[in-house]
Amino acid sequence: MTERKDLEKQESKATQQIKQDECILRPQVDICEDATGITLQADMPGVSKDRLDIQVDKDTLSIAGDACLDTPDDMEPLYADIGVTRYQRSFSLSGELDATKIDATLKDGLLTLHIPKREEHKPRKIEVRTG
């Protein structure tokens, strides 16, 4: 009996997840890495600085934001490519990245995050001695 209950629970969780996924937008991202760390850029049009939320929990980086438009009160929709206004996406970070030193800027709806590598993980040039 308990097994079936657990199964039902799982199912409802899964459907909840699907419902939740329908209500959020996944911002599109560019991610690149250089010697100093990782740079992440995310398209979040309509999100202002005070509606942006960046969180690091253990090794998970989450970015979220609410888009906000100035719409007249009596507006009726004619056409909509975008039906939801909540952006959300998360990434798992690896151990060599220093999540305490993330630098974030938001300009024209484009979020740029720089996640530096810990000092000891930055590449070192190894000199070859001639003997």
Binding site: C32, P45, S48, C68, M75, E76, A80, G83, V84, T85
Partner: protein, 147 residues
């Protein structure tokens, strides 16, 4: 200027989407005719259009644009927005993901017949281009008094 700013969660665009979904279920997707100028889903940039008795509002969701690169033109009731989004692609680094749009775009949308092409206003804020087109006076609903 932005006194009417408010989030539109649970607002008309959401209702519109559910309406569209219901239409899809009712008529079956595919049998519903496409507008001759309608784009495929996923065209860049995404556009929302809303109307009031006084004006038509067009919203383009395009982050990181240089407003100077935009070319907005209107011919009768056809609005065309062209521009270029230049992602600052760096050399000599490893890219793991490149999902953001990079390049030129052009979108044309058909507005209601009664818009006034001489009264168009555009602003760019937080990555959203907002174009407002006024409607002609004559077609605004008028109250008719009975004598």
């Amino acid at each position: 200027m932005f006194a009417t700013l408010r989030p539109f969660e649970g607002s008309f665009f959401d209702d519109f989407r559910s309406l569209e979904r219901e239409m899809g279920q009712l008529f079956g997707s595919g049998s519903w005719p496409n507008g001759i100028r309608s784009p495929a889903r996923g065209a860049y940039p995404p556009i929302n259009v809303g109307s009031t008795p006084n004006q038509v509002d067009v919203y383009l969701f395009a982050a990181g644009l240089d407003p100077k690169s935009l070319d907005i033109s209107i011919q009768h009731n056809l609005l065309t927005i062209a521009g270029e989004r230049k992602a600052d692609t760096r050399e000599g680094v490893n890219y793991y993901r490149k999902e953001c749009f990079n390049g030129t775009f052009r979108r044309t949308i058909t507005l209601p017949e009664d818009v006034d092409p001489d009264k168009v206003d555009a602003s760019y804020k937080d990555g959203v281009l907002h174009i407002t087109i006024q409607r002609r006076e004559v077609v605004k609903p008028r109250q008719i008094e009975i004598k």
